[in-house]
């Protein structure tokens, strides 16, 4: 059997749904960040697979490099927020960050 486009799309769909499960179920902020990274990686696999099988150019790979850059910037800022939150509330759990709740 030759490995085609739909195989890569299935792998990326599995990664995406596992990332969504991680974001929805975890209380710890760093765990939620790991779920978001899984979602970004699944989108990257989609981009590169379409670049190889569909388009004749490398635009998909370039887009994926930009996604990696943005993911790095996002993790830095998100961890800054998590650390500040931990300093304030002494807990890394996201559902205890309810200071603004009326």
């Amino acid at each position: 059997m030759t490995v085609g486009l739909s195989h890569y799309l299935l792998v990326s769909a599995a990664l995406f749904s596992l990332g969504v499960l991680g974001v929805l179920t975890r209380r710890n902020a760093v765990n939620v960040l790991m779920g978001v990274e899984l979602i970004l990686n699944s989108a990257n696999i989609n981009l590169v697979a379409f670049s190889r099988f569909g388009a004749g150019n490398l635009n998909g790979q370039l887009f994926a490099v930009f996604v990696i850059v943005i993911a790095a910037a996002e993790v830095a800022v998100a961890l800054a927020i998590v650390l500040t939150l931990y300093r304030l509330r002494r807990t890394p759990n996201l559902d205890e960050a309810d200071i603004l709740k009326g």
Binding site: A14, S17, L18, M34, V48, A80
Partner: protein, 166 residues
């Protein structure tokens, strides 16, 4: 089964299995190290797809940068004397239903659609072509990404700074 198919299934199993461990593990450190294997699996899939520069970038930035930052985050958000790095799970059943629904929809779309595929080119080194695209057609996003990184760096440093007057 050809060698390429065997390698693909091995890498897919590594990636999806490690992602399952990331999401379902009890301890935070197990999740972080399973994420490492997920990134390696994804880099292997990039090599199979002929994206060698992207695979190297993935390893350098994701494993060498983002994973190290996440491990710092894990270590800095727990009390030092309390080494029980357990992570709690809330509302597992509804989230499982939602995630399974998302997977079914995406998988059905992936398998049933008649994608307009051309036969793939033979794999070639992509570093030179990607570099020419960065400094040619995609110069503006490239410069914008540099500014984004600068702003993110400054923003993260400002958020985490200890204020003297607080």
């Amino acid at each position: 089964m050809t060698i390429e198919a065997a390698v693909f299934w091995a890498l897919a199993a590594l990636t999806v299995g490690s992602a399952a461990v990331v999401v379902l593990a009890r301890s935070l450190i197990y999740s972080a190290f399973a994420l490492l294997f997920t990134f390696f699996g994804v880099a292997g899939l990039y090599v199979l797809l002929g994206a060698d520069f992207l695979a190297a970038t993935q390893l350098l930035v994701y494993v060498g940068g983002i994973l190290v930052l996440l491990l710092f985050g894990v270590m800095l958000t727990h009390k030092l004397y309390d080494l029980d790095l357990r992570s709690e799970v809330t509302q597992f059943a509804p989230a499982l239903i939602v995630a399974a629904g998302v997977f079914v929809i995406l998988a059905a779309t992936a398998v049933k659609t008649e994608w307009a595929t051309a036969s793939p080119r033979p794999p070639a080194p992509t570093t030179r072509s990607v570099g020419e695209l960065f400094l040619g057609d995609f110069l503006l996003p490239f410069e914008a990404a540099s500014i984004l990184l600068l702003v993110a760096l400054m923003g993260a440093a400002m958020i985490v700074r200890r204020r003297r007057d607080a």
